[in-house]
Amino acid sequence: MMIPLADLVTILPEIIVVSVACLLFVLDPITPSNRKDLLAWMSVAALAVCFIVTAGSMGDRVSAFSDLVVVDGYASFWKLLLYVVSGMTILLSIGYLKEERIDLAEFYGFVLLSLTGMMIMVSGADLLVIYLGIELMSISLYVLAGFKRFEARSIESSAKYFILGAFSSGLLLYGISLIFGAAGSTRLVEIAAAVDARGLDDSLILIALTLVIVGFGFKVAAVPFHMWTPDVYQGAPTSVTAFMAVASKAASFGAFLRVMLEGFGGMKPNWSGLILGVCILTLILGNLVAIVQTNVKRMLAYSSIAHAGYALIGLVVAGWVGTEAGVSAKGVSSMMLYLAVYSFMTLGAFSMVAILRRGGEEGEDLDDFTGLAKRHKGAAFLMLLFMVSLAGIPPTAGFIGKFYLFMAAVNAGLTWLAVVGLIFAAVSAFYYLRIVMVMYMREPSPEQEGETRLALSPTATVVLALAAAGVVIFGIYPWPLVSLTASASLP
């Protein structure tokens, strides 16, 4: 049987990524240990190629493989973002893995395979494909989270992630099965047709929808399905945490949005209010609990929950009843913009945690940041930038992200939601600024001076520079990103 060439071209980026991943597994044993960086560079190069391919072919909607896969602007946007953050994760990991004594080339392979899963998620047009993408991503991440398996916390994080991940995918799968029962197919278009035919408040679809929301809510870390996040983020190796917090979240949001809008777009009244509740809970809980954290990694985990809450505003707007198509699209694009911006600043923040070492360990405690500005001005300044951006204060990209989200919310008549979001943005400023405070305004104790250091590899520097550049450039000149998200928006 013949596979049409066009189909293969459509999934060229996936093919490239998978090939390189397999190549890594093969090459790893035969590469001398001092040349293993080459493998990482190879991965980065592959991602660069993919970036060019995807960016070059960005445009019209193309379906492939019996319409199971769709590559449209929306998918391409997420893929571009995923390439960038994966590349940055790999670059960050080169030095980090050595510091943590876990530098196996398999690591990059898993990152790439996980990326493949994410790419599949965002371009899946069938729940089956999306489900498989999720599983590919998740299983890779289970392994990555436990990569530091000689450390109890790492393996515990992996175990928690796995148990809860499997549980949630069980729920999701059951939901899919019910949808299948309702629609006779798992294709999004046919689901949409069935939804249209059945109208609102159909019991079977509602039950299915509940489970789908739980499943995706888990992946995007929305309250009350978020509880794995802090533990897993804290225990996992930091570069993995960054990858999870950024890439996995972005891809999950990408798929979530597509499913909700393309599949369940016909029953917005049934889910937009629900998402709204989840969104508010997420905003509140993420920000509140982050206040009392003293572990920076854990704090960033809660902050990532909070940011999921912000991103959900976009989904709420997109699904808000009575909004015109244009407004709805603005919700989607603002969420895309927000996640793109979020990726840069969160990656930057986690990178800083990754390179800060105390003794042989990660300097992930708040105290480890004490007096950083005295010893490493540049690093402290970059951290300041990331924190300010996370808090959403101009002129950083974080502000632009929030601005567009709130624009969308107000446009949809959800002014009060914007107010809630902003109130908690102010609350979040407290804990972000606390890091700035310890860096700039506290004197380090003598033993700290001796113990803490920056493991600043050249590649990590590149990552930090990229993240900072993203934060600053998209803060001052956001138009390219804004126009990209506007053109790649879903409906």
Partner: protein, 531 residues
């Protein structure tokens, strides 16, 4: 409009940032020289604004517009009118002084300090010249970070608390501002964040009411109005001298400027409706702030509370909605900037010697520091509102305006003048004339030329504005008249005696009521014989 196309404002705004870049390049010891040079240059560059300014038009001048973001349409649009020009000049004048006062007192991390200061200058100037609401907000918020660092890094013992409090309080205040901006944008429906466009649009009264309070939250915290003032004493006390100066002289003006630039022109109906509330708070601030100042043993805290009182005059003047009040308020903003800034500089100078801000530690300075004492007396008396000095002019016009609005308000506000005299003089009695504190005697020496050079221009301004305020007032007239006319229009449209309406207006009146009438004076001889 005679800028001749030369981007004066952009130059003014961007120069400090170039200075920041330069500071990165030079070695640490030179940082302050660069900062001084750059900030002085900014001041010089801002002077043409004054010279080329056309007083006859209320329109924005030196306007530059460049597209920043296409959708929604957000522009880099800057310009000044008679309201913002004095504040721009005030900022450019004070920044070099802040560099100077930090010359020797900032020993650690001088480079970062100067960077913060210059970033601060850009942000503050940006706030005053922005013609696009989003741009305004960007600058408005950006300012927080350098200020946070200034207080938190180079401040006093309790600096961290003060810095965080300052940051969060003012940030929390401006939350609603952003939402309000967005709501305005959608209601105006012209795909523009341009302040002029938004000012010309009409908004339904119920919306105005909401927006008014949203604006109010942001601006009142910044002013700060009672009861949102408690961040101010903490921030002032803990901040380094330069920080206090910037905070008092420039930052506090943001709120009042916001009222003038946004609340009044964009929300005229709501302004009319709620003006009595704001006036009430202003009067409370005037008297309450003065009372608080009585109780302070810390010089900076005393001045901080006096700021609350003085800024009460500003809001009072703004919300009486007549030319005298508003012009007085703007003058008072400038004057407060000069006087309080100078007072903080004075405190900084003596702090450098005694390392204490307590009055008991800094008493009887006249004997050992006569020149210093002279300056301190000048600025303190200016703060009292002594006629012939700057503050009096502003307060007088504010009181005139307030009196036209409501006699009781003006009377209560004038009461603040007595209290100001009492606490300031009591302070002087101890600090300048008191028995010298023995344990500090060895540390005291009179001001050097650098310090004199810092205070002399401010002293000159104190008297210049006090004796000949006309040039400054003339700059404002056109813009303020424009503002007042818009209010007057609304006043006419409003029919029937509403409970919020400041004075009974009979519905058949077409023009604004005559002046006497407005002042509540009834002239029998003018009334027609038969009714």
């Amino acid at each position: 409009m005679s800028s001749g196309g030369f981007p004066w404002l952009t130059l003014v705004v961007i120069l400090p940032l170039l200075g920041v870049a330069a500071i990165f390049l030079v070695e640490e010891a030179l940082a302050k020289w660069v900062a001084l040079g750059v900030s002085s240059l900014v001041f010089l560059v801002s002077l043409p604004l004054w010279v080329l300014f056309d007083e006859s038009t209320p329109a924005m001048q030196f306007v530059e517009t460049h597209q920043w973001i296409a959708s929604p349409s957000i522009n880099y649009a800057v310009g000044v009118d008679g309201i913002s020009l004095p504040l721009v000049l005030l900022t450019t004048l004070l920044t070099p002084l802040c560099v100077l006062v930090s010359w020797t007192s900032i020993q650690t991390r001088a480079r970062e300090f100067m960077i913060s200061l210059l970033v601060m200058e850009t942000a503050t100037l940006g706030v005053f010249v922005s013609l696009d609401f989003v741009l305004f907000y960007v600058f408005w918020e950006t300012m927080l970070i350098p200020m946070y660092l200034l207080i938190g890094i180079w401040g006093g013992p309790n600096r961290v608390y003060a810095a965080i409090k300052f940051f969060l309080y003012t940030l929390a205040g401006s939350i609603l501002l952003l939402v309000a901006i967005i709501v305005l944008y959608f209601y105006a429906g012209q795909d523009s964040f341009d302040i002029r466009t938004l000012s010309n649009a009409e908004y339904p009264p119920w919306l105005q009411a909401w927006l008014f309070w949203a604006f109010f939250a942001a601006f009142a915290v910044k002013v700060p109005m009672f009861p949102f003032h408690t961040w101010l004493p903490d921030a002032h006390v803990e901040a380094p001298t330069a920080g206090s100066v910037i905070l008092a002289s420039v930052l506090l003006k943001f709120g009042a400027y916001g009222f003038l630039r946004f609340s009044l022109p964009m929300l005229p109906d709501a302004t009319q409706r709620f003006t009595s509330v704001v006036l009430f708070l202003s009067v409370v601030a005037i008297i309450y702030g003065a009372y608080m100042a009585f109780a302070q043993a810390d010089l900076k805290k005393l001045i901080a509370y006096s700021s609350v009182s003085h800024m009460g005059f500003v809001t009072l003047g703004i919300f009486v909605l007549n030319a005298q009040g508003i012009e007085g308020a703007i003058l008072q903003m400038v004057n407060h900037g000069i006087t309080t800034g100078a007072l903080f500089l004075c405190v900084g100078i003596v702090y450098e010697r005694t390392h204490s801000r307590e009055i008991v530690d800094n008493s009887g300075l006249a004997a050992s520091m006569p020149v210093y004492a002279t300056f301190l007396v000048i600025f303190a008396l200016s703060s009292v509102g002594l006629p012939g000095m700057n503050s009096f002019v502003g307060e007088f016009f504010v009181l005139v305006g307030a009196f036209m609005w409501n006699k009781a308000v003006a009377t209560l506000a004038a009461l603040g003048v007595i209290l100001a005299a009492a606490y300031i003089l009591w302070m002087l009695q101890r600090v300048v004339y008191g028995t010298p504190a023995q344990h500090m005697a060895s540390k005291l020496y009179d001001m050097n030329w650098c310090e004199i050079g810092m205070l002399a221009p401010l002293a000159f301004l104190v008297f210049w504005i006090g004796l000949y305020p006309k040039p400054l007032l003339d700059v404002m007239h056109a813009s303020v008249d424009h503002l007042v006319q818009k209010q007057a229009k609304v006043m006419v449209v409003e029919t029937g005696p509403s409970s919020f309406s400041p004075m009974p207006i009979t519905s058949d009146e077409v023009s604004p009521p005559p002046r006497l009438e407005r002042a509540g004076v009834r002239v029998k001889s003018m009334e027609p014989e038969t009714r």
